[in-house]
Symmetry: C2
């Protein structure tokens, strides 16, 4: 079943806003087994909107249109749809009453303008009539067409709660069983992933794709076969083969993130982590706390951006800072030990380095990074030399720090298993 | 001059990767005065690539195609272009020699496979022959067509360094002078922005657009007139009118960010900031240090995610934590005072709250946030009740904290001006 996605808004074609909703829709539709024929982004122009919509209706099985449903003057989707599909707009009573009901929640809104929200093309079925979210569905030429708001959260909610369930009952494409996953790889270049995977001899039902997603490489495995059992078996054996050749460079699958995998391993080992950050300036702490529930394994830490804070919070002797400089093996180790001790954590992670664009020297160019780890057994420091801009260097540093913790925790795990054995 | 942008890659249509390159291209082209007719995202399918390319060539003045130029099996752009435009692929000698030259930089690359990179459609002019970046230009039916790599950094570099300069000499659309800007607004709902702007009576040459960009609202002002002087005058008077009705809810313009504006004001006042974060877990520090040169006004701080770190690093008495709870006016103030004192900064900013999804109570539901500020003159705490998911609450909190600092610094500024007066 083929789907086409049309995003509408001058803010998207002018690049003022990044279109994230189409990608979200594509991922969810793809994972539910639909083929995305194409995605378009067009401005708030009724002519273009109508043209794109009619062309899509002529060639795919379902269309999703996002944006342009608001009440301001540049919201023109309903008008365009009405004209293109020859469906006059009619005031929707459910929406009108919902607007009046919620009026006090909308500060200073002139009722007359808001009522534009209720003028929908004939045949429109409102998706969530009791909320304040725009969004409706039309059946046109036997195809479902969904109109969703451009506001990302509303669009995502309506897609998951209304569009996907409606589509799944609309038409079932059962002739092929599909199994798929994404392997998430860090610290192995795409070309090396490619080389190792090329050594495996996959049958034609197995489809492999590579996608560099800075700072990671993602490998997609899709297996399609008429027989569910064959597809499942082949998917399992292919997954195993991929894991064998890529080893622990695979840190997770599908929607895993490095920080969640690290969180899972910390929790499993009953360890608490604390972090001291210099050049990453809070990025590692921010990533770790993006995950709900992170307080069970992450205590917090110190953003010792200035040297005075390295001495003040982490007990690093000024002498050490003066002798070796803040960007040094010695200071990275002292920061890791210091944050572990002052926070009473089980593991201390510390990074210090030069993220640029200024601050590099001949001996310590931009991209020079030291990552220190302090544990109950030992402390060690790993030196990196990253290339890229400030954003890239900071992200590579944060991801590498978390990856070092991950590998330490994996060793702890396998050590324990050996002991049990 | 109309431009169409085509992004190619299964990773984009499946939603595995967010298409950021098209938005970047659109913004830069728009700012250089081009009209973006449409943007398309299609999979690695030669048929679709050819169809989209031919349709674009038939209706716009220039086309930009990104992605699918690599050497792996799923990179099919050159093959598709060759077929669609009837231009056989020919090995490009410059690229071949560049590949051989850089071979040792590309780990484990089989030369045979890499040579695919050099097979370009007839007439292709390589954009950056001495680098390892794919990318070329074709003149077809009197229109420039640019093929750029999908890798965001390479694409961005080639766009700025080659595509924009080439386009600017290609064709000049001089009949209208255009002046434009984006006003960035925080802490004022879109509907209220709309209401205030509606009170202004702009002439037809003035175009206003609104764009909610969580957690901000962006307002675009575009003025077009045949006479440069008229356009300039009208742009200035319109800008002034907008600033008058929106006041200090406008925190910046165009590519400003809240953290950079705060950084600029800190530097101007010669103040150093330190931050203590609980629920935002490092996000504020991370935002502040995203800006190069932030070390001149930002010392760092403490991510006191666990209560033990609030006592340990920030000298907050356990009694206070026990009596009022970590999420309280009293603790927010103590954190701000504590981080200011322990870091020896001029200003201390502290946030504590419940970002969710767990941890809310009836008295302190998810979204309850206290933001404390400590300065030389006084300390104060502002309470917020945000709604949204964890990501939204954390971002609203970080942005609000920075905005409070911004408003304090603006007062300092105007206070100084009054004194001078």
């Amino acid at each position: 079943m083929k789907v086409e996605i049309i995003a509408i808004g001058d803010e998207l074609t002018s690049g003022r806003i990044l279109n994230t909703t189409s990608g979200f829709a594509a991922r969810n539709l793809f994972e539910a087994g639909y083929e995305i024929y194409a995605m378009h982004t067009i401005g708030d122009s009724p002519g273009l909107i109508g043209e794109a919509l009619k062309r899509a209706i002529g060639r795919v099985d379902a269309v999703i249109v996002t944006g342009g449903l608001g009440y301001t003057d540049d919201d023109l989707t309903n008008e365009a749809v009405s004209k293109a599909l020859n469906r006059p707009t009619i005031p929707n009573l459910e929406i009108l009453s919902s607007i009046r009901e919620h009026l006090d929640e909308i500060t200073n809104a002139p009722v007359g303008e808001l009522e534009k929200l209720a003028l929908l093309p004939k045949g429109a079925q409102v998706l969530s009539p009791h909320s304040l979210m725009a969004g409706y569905q039309l059946i046109h030429e036997d195809r479902p067409i969904f109109f969703l708001p451009g506001v990302p959260n509303q669009m995502k909610q309506l897609l998951v709660e209304h569009v996907l369930p409606t589509l799944s009952t609309w038409h079932k494409d059962h002739h092929l069983s599909t199994y798929q996953t994404i392997f998430r790889i860090f610290n192995l270049p795409e070309i090396e992933v490619n080389r190792r995977i090329s050594s495996l001899d996959f049958p034609p039902d197995v489809h492999i794709g590579y996608y560099p997603v800075f700072p990671e490489v993602h490998l997609s495995l899709i297996v399609r076969n008429k027989k569910t059992n064959n597809a499942k078996k082949l998917f399992r054996s292919s997954s195993r083969a991929i894991c064998t050749v890529l080893g622990d460079a695979i840190y997770g699958q599908d929607r895993d993130s490095m920080e969640r995998v690290v969180g899972y391993l910390l929790k499993k080992n009953n360890f608490q982590l604390a972090v001291a950050e210099s050049c990453t300036g809070g990025l590692i702490c921010k990533k770790l706390t993006d995950a709900p529930g992170s307080s069970s394994y992450f205590l917090g830490g110190v953003v010792s951006y200035a040297n005075s804070l390295k001495s003040g919070y982490l007990d690093i002797p000024t002498k050490l800072l003066n002798e070796y400089g803040a960007v040094s093996r010695e200071v990275a180790e002292a920061m890791a030990v210091g944050v572990k001790k002052t926070s009473c954590s089980d593991i201390g992670l510390a990074v210090t380095g030069i993220a640029g664009p200024e601050g590099g020297t001949e001996q310590k160019p931009v991209g020079t990074i030291y990552i220190g780890i302090a544990t109950a057994e030992e402390n060690w420091v790993t030196k990196f030399r990253f290339s890229g801009d400030r954003w890239q260097i900071r992200n590579l540093t944060a991801q590498s720090g978390l990856d070092l913790i991950r590998k330490y925790l994996l060793q702890q795990d396998s050590g324990k298993q050996q002991t049990h054995f």
